[in-house]
């Protein structure tokens, strides 16, 4: 299983993961967009040197983007361990991943330093504790760019202040199927939060997975930002749950049919695109969370959603595949995985 998914989180029937990201820059270097190669090397060295003393935390492993193959770096992206933007920084980008994969320090992304903490289920409090501790440690090692009025300074003014982007990945199949999701998205954007689909294009969600995050980063403290987001997420969880209960009550056969047809396709299909696979996996996850499918753990389905993404798929096979080959191999991988999960 993807390491950061391991363990038990809160409200995992709806919330897949919680993520916190802190954007930080160093005072004495130009920001990444304007940096020379020498500057970015020196900065990377300085951070690595500082991290050497980090004996109180779990050990980290260091990677440079330029040392990774296309497939390798995209596996990190698909596992949500680094951002797609960092994967593109072939000349200057690098990152440190904590051995439990719950924390990543990205170097020379849009900002010099981006601390990311990723946890299973809903847990902003723990996420903030971990990320703030890493932040305190780094602050003692390097000189941060901090301004009395603007707070933590960032390349882009959309991140200035706290530098905090807090988000949850939520699975909302029933709110999506009933169309209630649109009202919710509208409401969420009105109070300064953002919703977007995961893996899909723009706001179109793939597998009914959505990411909800704060839009503004200055004017409220980190705790206030997190509290507001948490409150909204709790409301969404309860609405998704009540819609699930309602649909079970009114449309039991239809829901059951939909879920088991999806399971059938995943178990017996021979060619499957990642989009189709995501939709069926999403239905099966719902079946697990509703207790209709009781011999598969819902979290293994989330893990499978990551394993079937293009780079992860090719990594497992250890070679590059054409699109057609991918769909065939994806179907095979899913069949084998579902069978072994069912025991």
């Amino acid at each position: 299983m993807v390491k950061w998914l391991e363990g038990i989180g809160n409200d995992e029937d709806v919330v897949v993961s919680t993520r916190l990201r802190l954007a930080r820059n160093m005072a004495n270097y130009r920001f990444p967009y304007f940096m020379t190669k020498d500057e970015s090397e020196a900065l990377t060295e300085e951070i690595l040197n500082g991290m050497k003393d980090n004996v109180y935390d779990i050990p980290y492993k260091f990677y440079r983007i330029r040392d990774l193959s296309d497939i390798e770096k995209n596996v990190f992206v698909e596992k949500h361990l680094i951002s797609p933007n960092l994967a593109k920084k072939a000349d200057s980008g690098s990152f440190l991943i904590r051995n439990d994969e719950r924390a990543t320090i990205m170097i020379n992304e849009e900002d010099h330093i981006r601390i990311q903490v990723l946890l299973p289920g809903l847990d902003f409090e723990e996420g903030w504790k971990i990320s703030s501790k890493i932040d305190d440690f780094l602050e003692g090692k390097v000189e941060y760019a901090y301004h009395e009025q603007f707070g933590y300074l960032t390349s882009c003014p959309t991140n200035v202040g706290t530098g905090l982007r807090a988000s949850v990945m939520v699975h909302l199949p029933c709110l999506s199927m009933t169309g209630h999701i649109n009202t919710i998205i509208e409401g969420i954007t009105k109070i300064g939060l953002t919703v977007r689909g995961i893996y899909g294009e723009g706001t179109k969600a793939s597998g009914y997975l959505f990411q909800i995050s704060n839009q503004t980063t200055i004017g409220e403290s980190e705790k206030e930002i997190i509290k507001k987001l948490n409150r909204v997420v709790l409301q969404i969880i309860s609405r998704e749950r009540s819609t699930r209960a309602y649909m079970l009550d009114k449309r039991n056969h239809q829901i059951e049919d939909m879920i088991f047809r999806s399971l059938g396709i995943l178990k017996y299909g021979r060619i499957i695109s990642s989009q189709e696979a995501m939709n069926h996996l999403s239905n099966v996850k719902l079946g697990c969370d509703l207790g209709m499918i009781d011999n598969i753990d819902s979290k293994d389905i989330v893990n499978l959603m990551i394993k079937i993404q293009p780079a992860s798929l090719q990594k497992t096979l250890n070679k590059e595949l054409t699109y057609e080959e991918r769909d065939v191999y994806r179907a095979k991988l899913i069949r084998e995985n579902i069978r072994s999960l069912e025991g």
């Binding site: 304007f34 301004h147 882009c156 003014p157 503004t216 004017g219 403290s221």
Partner: protein
């Protein structure tokens, strides 16, 4: 109706600003509206934040003649260049373009003053600065009282703290 900013001229420009769903009505005279770049932030927060930001920069660019271009001495970035790329060059930029950034950040976030975490080092600095201030007051008092022994001690203490802060 008088302009709510200067309370002198007639308010000729009326608009609503919507930030984070909060509706604010503004009534300004032409001079104040231009001065504060208020007009540029008259938009709704759309779904895509990136789009919003690009739009914001575009609207500032419509007014290129009025602003003389400043250059950041540390990284060489001009405000014009920032408007093109949407990214600042270094920490110093925030000081150099402070006025523009203040209104830009306010337009994006609805606020422009940080309320959250303060780096431990900065926190220590603030505490030390406050300590220096109170020592200075005490120093003045002891000079008034002609307690020169105490005054000499306080002066050394102030210098020691200032040195630690890198002020001397």
């Amino acid at each position: 109706m008088l302009c709510e900013k200067c309370n002198k001229n007639n308010a000729t420009i009326h608009f609503t600003k919507i930030i984070n769903g909060q509706v604010e009505e503004r009534h300004l005279c032409e001079t104040c509206a231009k001065e504060n770049n208020e007009l540029e932030f008259n938009f709704e927060v759309p779904f895509s934040f990136e789009k919003l930001f690009t739009g914001l920069i575009d609207s500032i660019q419509e007014d290129p003649g009025k602003r003389k271009d400043i250059t950041c001495p540390k990284c060489g970035l001009t405000y014009k260049k920032f408007q093109e790329v949407g990214k600042f060059g270094c920490a110093k930029c925030y000081e150099v373009f402070r006025k523009d950034i203040s209104s830009l950040v306010k337009g994006i976030h609805g606020h422009n003053t940080h309320q959250g975490k303060v780096p431990i080092k900065t926190k220590d600095k603030v505490i030390q600065k406050k300590a220096i201030e109170s020592l200075k007051m005490e120093l003045e008092k002891s000079i008034e009282k002609e307690d020169f022994e105490r005054a000499a001690y306080l002066r050394d203490e102030i210098n020691r703290l200032r040195e630690k802060l890198g002020e001397i």
